[in-house]
């Protein structure tokens, strides 16, 4: 309750600052409202009609140069049968007050913060963040607070803190080291040290990647690296990827039971090696291909191949793709076919898409799944857009499934006047 009160106070402070802000022209304010109404009916089951409202707000240079307030959240209510075990639901995704110094990108944020930096991946916490550029190409970020993710069992005595220090030269290289520690109910549930790298030794060649070390188990948990070459003539780009994941040390303290190994002594490791190619073949056509080899210590091996062809021109798009997964385990093998097309029809944007899945091993007696979707959108103005989608499905879960979605998008975005964000 204290944290909700603190966040509410933060929002009120922002509102007060907005009210006292200098005249328009100094403060950039943007507000976006998205209303979704999905409806789903399945043969012989419940009918779900939900109303979602997503709100995003930002005010830049609020009262003082460099001071800003940003917030985003959503709420939902059921209009028919109960969904996901709750008649209503909602989430404050982020809401923070920040200040950016005139030099060095030095920055401070306080409130509910969403952060990706080094081993911190999409971390959401109620707390504070400090960051700045430093001499000789250094950059530092420190953060701390109460995580939102482990609220199962309460958030009392939950903490999360860490930081990242990096050094580099724009366009040439950047090397980072990061640390994160998280406590749940006062007990250390997660402690990670990470290294991340970007190196572009010669033009059009770059290596990016990261390694994660589980400090509790004192073992490497994951390495993930990518070598990219290009784009060359015809926008040809090639990439090679490698990742190694040790399940025992990577999936530490999961909330989701699917990640808890059935046999904790089975030390499963996955080595993933892949290659990707994409090329602009001209006349609006783009071709992309991907191959991945999966090698497991326990489960055997698998490989996946995919190819996609796309086309775009004068508001029209079309494309299709194929993916095949093959391997030692029949339950993992499937083929996927995809196709889509979109076109302007009068004032409407119309798009059609379809997906067909063929599984090597039947699931609940069915070895195929089919989905077809139609989407219509109508931009009433640059700030207001309506869209409607309908999707038909036949799959192992449902012999017939029909879903509909109505969307209203409205935005007021004064910050667009100088380029800015989207």
């Amino acid at each position: 309750m204290k944290r909700i009160a603190a966040l509410s106070a933060l929002a009120l402070l922002g509102a007060a600052l907005t009210a006292n802000a200098p005249p328009a022209g100094a403060t950039d304010i943007s507000l976006e409202s998205r209303t979704y109404m999905p409806v789903r009916g399945t043969k012989g089951a419940d009918t779900h009609a939900l109303l979602y409202e997503y709100l995003n707000f930002s005010a830049e240079d609020l009262a003082l140069p460099g001071l800003y307030l940003r917030a985003s959240g959503w709420g939902r209510t059921d209009l028919a049968d109960e969904t996901y075990g709750k008649k209503t639901n909602g989430d404050l995704q982020y809401a923070y007050l920040g200040w950016r110094a005139p030099l060095l990108n030095a920055e401070a944020r306080v409130g509910r913060i969403s952060l990706t930096a080094g081993v911190a991946r999409h971390e959401v916490f109620d707390g504070a963040l400090l960051g700045t550029d430093l001499p000789y190409g250094f950059d530092a970020t420190v953060f701390g607070g109460v995580p939102t993710e482990t609220d199962v069992g309460g958030r009392s005595s939950d903490t999360l803190y860490g930081g990242r220090l990096s050094q580099g030269q724009a366009g040439l290289y950047r090397l980072g080291a990061s640390y994160l520690k998280e406590k749940n109910d006062g007990e250390v549930s997660r402690e990670e040290v990470g290294a991340d790298v970007f190196v572009a030794p010669v033009p059009l060649v770059s290596v990016t990647g990261s390694s994660l070390y589980n400090s509790i188990a004192k073992q490497w948990a994951r390495h993930d690296y990518r070598l990219s070459v290009g784009p060359f003539v015809q926008a040809l780009r090639i990439a090679a990827t490698w990742s190694s994941t040790d399940y025992r040390y990577y999936f530490q303290s999961p909330v989701h039971p699917a990640f808890i190994p059935e046999d904790p002594d089975a030390d499963e490791k996955l080595q993933k090696i892949g290659g990707e190619l994409s090329v602009d073949v001209g006349m609006g056509f783009t071709l992309a291909g991907q191959y991945t080899s999966y090698t497991y210590d326990v489960a055997g091996a698998a490989n996946a191949f995919s190819a996609d062809l796309g086309w775009a021109g004068s508001g029209f798009t079309a494309g299709g793709g194929y993916r095949k997964v093959h391997g030692d385990e029949a339950e993992n093998q499937y083929q996927e076919f995809r196709a889509h097309a979109s076109a302007p029809v009068g004032p409407l944007g119309v798009s059609l898409s379809g997906q067909y899945l063929k599984f090597a091993e039947a699931i609940d007696g069915e070895d195929t799944a089919l989905t077809a979707a139609l989407d219509l959108s109508y931009p009433a103005s640059p700030a207001l857009e309506f869209s409607a989608s309908v999707e038909y499905g036949k799959n192992p879960e449902y012999s017939r499934e029909v879903k509909g979605l109505l969307t209203v998008l409205w935005r007021y975005d004064a910050s667009m006047k100088n380029g800015g964000t989207k």
Partner: protein
């Protein structure tokens, strides 16, 4: 001196050192916002030199952008608002699939398009690490319907 006091002292020293270095440094920071508004998926090298190739939003971008994002907390904010990231990288309990929020964005390879309820059984076994960042410690409301 207790351990917590030493930790606080070390943190204060670190922050003080960083602050001192920041105060002494020259203004060589990168721009916080792109100076021009960009429509669609940008190919950075169409205006910038080859050093910008890694951030081209091409057919490989959906698989490569994660490694770029971890390098700097501001990388994505140069052009995107936080809500843009949150559309796919869901917070605690997202209920709408990214592909439902952007049904006509076929170019964005929005995850979980079509019958992913069935497809995720195979994909989750193939590489559960790809699911973990969004569904490992949070955003498990829908998962809990079946995974008790």
């Amino acid at each position: 001196m207790t351990r917590s006091a030493m930790t606080a002292l070390a943190a204060a020293l670190l922050l003080g050192t960083l602050g001192f270095l920041a105060a002494c440094a020259g203004p060589k920071s990168t721009a916080l916002a792109h100076p021009e508004r960009i429509e669609g998926l940008p190919i950075c090298t169409s205006c910038h030199d080859a050093a910008s190739a890694a951030t081209n939003h091409d057919a490989q971008w959906m698989r490569s952008h994660g490694a770029i994002a971890v390098r700097d907390r501001r990388t994505c904010e140069t052009c995107h608002k936080g809500s843009s990231c949150a559309d796919c990288h869901a917070g605690r309990q997202e209920e709408i699939k990214p592909s439902d929020k952007r049904p006509s964005r076929f170019d964005a390879s929005t995850p979980h398009r079509g019958d992913y309820l069935t497809q995720h059984r195979a994909d989750g076994r193939l590489d559960p690490a790809s699911c973990f960042p969004c569904h490992g410690r949070k955003n498990t409301g829908r998962c809990a319907t079946c995974h008790k």
